[in-house]
Symmetry: C2
Subunit: 505 residues, 2 copies
């Protein structure tokens, strides 16, 4: 072993950890901004976050990083760390991407997205796409520039998708989505045509907020979220923030006349939280200590929210507790009535309100349009029309307004092209992981019916969490489930559920 | 005007603001650490704060700052800013102090105080001074070294006091404290000997926490604390954190069987908060936008907590509201009974539980011992004996244990020599400012009896808050009150109060 290689590697990891620590400070400020920040402090919070972002960016593009990477790559075998190849692969990937982006482009994007955020908020409120259009045109142009600067083998969109789902390609994702859509559209149609419906209003009864909080916290703790290393607070737009070792924050919002939003929201965020809490803490700041991709992260939230949380086995354990938590509210309701209510398929215009099945059509639509925008095949001016046409084709519904159409999501205003697909990738990974876990854990059903999740959680930690970013998502999936990602397990899962409640298959 | 001087000044202020913004990020993390941080995140929070402190220290000692200061000082008259002389005076003061401290000393102090904090926590718990002694010896030695590095005209302690109360000297403070002690000791003795006592247990009745919170928040809002630019949370050791423009956080702790702690604690912190909220926000980061000294800061908290909050005029407005907030709890209690209870003089061993009068004897004792330790006239080994002797002389009580004696405070474990005197300086400034405000505001009594504090708050803002650190504390005091700090107004205030309840004078 040449000492100089190891020395370079040690310095590299020290710098990487410092960079991550700086970003974790920004994460605390970001969490606070969404939970407790007084309204009068909003402008100054922007100054604080901008300063931390600038400091972090300087570190991420410091030429010294490139030198250290080069020194390590020259003799990877000399490094006394099993994770060195993965760490170097991912650090190189991030460094090259960062230095390929001209500072001017980074600044223009920051300014354009900051302006666009305000413009989007107003445009959605006023249902006024024309007011948002110039902002979106600027952002699409800048994102195309970003893709060109980063470079790509297939199409420009690949370079953007790569930021959220490293290694994935537009063509690969689109092929899986095409399979999925082909199955989903007739399945959803059949469910709707069955004429069956759950008990109306079951989930909109009286669910007092303090009891919702208690019940959701107890469920999050039951699936294994460690409240000595995390917490749950209230916010307007729920999220999970894995701040750093021993500190992971979940958020939710409560509506006293709606059970599902907070409860499944908390299960969802707690799924993200379990991933964060079970990453190898001693590797904090290294790729080996970070999560694999947004898609894999989302698989952890979706697995607990839907695969587990909307299952009969889960409610076998939790329905009696639910009745106790909300005395009288569910008199005469059977566990099956309740499960049907939380499994209802109901096409709607707004993604964030969508059910497990139709959600993925929302995502498929956005992938198509994003690819076309970034590829230059769709002009921003034509976006509303394209949106409404595709929506009609997928959902059989006429979009009543841009507010409920192409203006509904925040993502494009922050330049998040490539982000949407990870939501459905998460659903697919979740189903595939759950099938693999079920095959590996003979007692899974029994344990779940007892409210015991240690086995499942342990399997996920061993097969997903503990690997950090050692493998790219595609490899992680193959290692954990035995085959590449496809739509089969998710479709099978949905088919079984819909057969049960709608009698279709 | 030479453009280069103005350019240097602009860069200086830009850097100063950036430095303050970085420290404000640490302030958010510090607030979070004391309020919401999950226990498992404590170690990592230390890493985050250490990184931010290191970044801030690098900036504070950047030689570029010295160059810019020199360029500005060469032609102050060229600068288009009334506050330039004050800004340059204070920035020079801070920069010189920072660069005079060897990096080694700063690091040793950081390590020693970090170790000492844990050792002190355990030593206090176990009433074991011997376990804390070597840590305190190290810290005293390092603080003496710090004083020597910083330099001083009178005695070593001056260099330490100067960090918290710039411009003050040990001899000057000690002279005022000697006057105060000479008056206080017989006054307190006479009150105790009068045999008069407030109604026992009045403040230890049933005060439900949610109502305490509501009542304390409404009082803080009534005196002018702006909750759109601040908030109130719960913590173990209450504090006020002025994070930055529009964001000031108060904290308190509630005991359902003790009214005073949370209520007067909130008034106290809200007094600090009013100072922070009324500093010139557009000057954030400059000395001109910062507070004057710890003593002046404490004067703002003590003024609202005691001069206002423990006055008959205040309770003329608030006693009816208090009865409503705690229905039944105060049946048959008169406003005068209540005022006597919150004004009781009762010597005790622990400073943080002390009343308005005896509190200052606690501080006087600490000043004497700190001076002796730093001056080399008292060995750490002899501290418990010296403490107990002086305590007996001042309070006429025998200290039962070091836990209730020289181990009670956290300050020495973090090296805060010079901090204690600012508490009593705050009490004295508060009385002197209140007397000046009363002379300037003919309707002050009437307004206070109506719960209208706009006049007093406006006077404080005009005479204290708006000046930031334009003047040193001594000059601010003379400008606001017409004469230098002395103990006269505080003694007169206390004499009047004790005459009323104890019949002594």
């Amino acid at each position: 072993m040449t000492p100089s290689t190891q020395t370079a590697y040690d310095e590299l990891l020290r710098r990487t950890r410092e960079h991550a620590t700086l970003q974790s400070c920004a994460a605390v400020l970001g969490w606070d901004q969404q939970t407790y920040l007084p309204r009068g402090g909003a402008a100054f919070r922007g100054d604080q976050l901008a300063l931390l972002a600038a400091l972090a960016h300087d570190r991420a593009t410091d030429p010294r990083l490139g030198d250290l990477l080069g020194a390590c790559e020259a003799d990877v075998a000399a490094l006394a760390d099993d994770f060195a190849p993965a760490n170097l692969r991912e650090l190189r990937h991030g460094y090259d991407r960062a230095v390929k982006l001209p500072k001017r482009l980074v600044e223009e994007l920051a300014r354009a997205t900051s302006d666009a955020h305000e413009a989007w908020t107003a445009a959605r409120r006023d249902d006024d796409f024309a007011a948002f259009r110039p902002h979106l045109e600027t952002i699409v142009a800048l994102k195309r520039e970003e893709a060109a600067a980063v470079g790509f083998a297939g199409e420009a969109y690949d370079a953007l998708l790569d930021e959220y789902e490293p290694g994935a390609t537009a063509a690969g994702v689109a092929a899986v989505f095409a399979d999925l859509t082909r199955e989903l559209v007739p399945l959803i149609r059949a469910a709707l045509d069955s004429g069956k419906r759950p008990t109306p209003g079951l989930l909109e009864r009286d669910y007092p907020i303090d009891r919702q909080r208690w019940f959701a916290e107890s469920a999050a703790a039951a699936i294994g979220f460690d409240f000595t290393r995390g917490r749950l607070d209230t916010t307007a737009h729920p999220f999970c923030s894995g701040i750093g070792p021993g500190d992971c924050r979940l958020t939710t919002r409560y509506n006293p006349r709606a059970f599902s939003e907070a409860f499944f929201g908390v299960l969802h965020e707690a799924g993200h939280g379990l991933y964060e809490q079970n990453l190898p803490a001693e590797r904090f700041g290294q790729p080996a200590g970070g999560s694999c991709s947004l898609g894999v992260h989302e698989s952890q939230s979706r697995l607990w929210e839907n695969q587990v949380g909307r299952s009969g086995n889960f409610w076998a354990a939790f329905f009696p507790r639910l009745r106790q938590a909300f005395p009288g509210t569910l008199d005469g309701v059977t566990p099956d009535d309740f499960l049907f209510a939380v499994s209802e398929v109901k096409p709607s215009f707004v993604r964030v309100e969508a059910d497990e099945a139709t959600y993925n059509l929302h995502v498929a639509l956005r992938l198509e349009l994003e690819r076309a925008l970034v590829g230059g095949d769709l002009a921003v001016a034509d976006l509303p029309g394209a949106w409404n046409d595709r929506f009609a084709a997928l959902f059989g519904l006429t979009v009543p307004s841009d507010r409920e159409g192409c203006l509904q999501d925040i993502h494009w205003s922050f330049g998040g092209f490539g982000y949407f697909p990870t939501y459905t990738l998460g659903n697919l990974y979740a189903a595939q992981l759950m099938a693999a876990a079920a095959a590996a854990l003979p007692d899974l059903d029994r344990d779940t019916r007892r409210g015991d999740f240690a086995g499942l959680r342990g399997w996920l930690t061993a097969n997903v969490h503990a690997h950090g970013r050692r493998y790219r998502a595609a490899e992680l999936c193959e290692r954990a489930t035995g085959h590449p990602l496809d739509a089969a397990e998710f479709v099978a899962y949905l088919r079984e559920k819909l057969a049960r409640f709608y009698g279709v298959c």
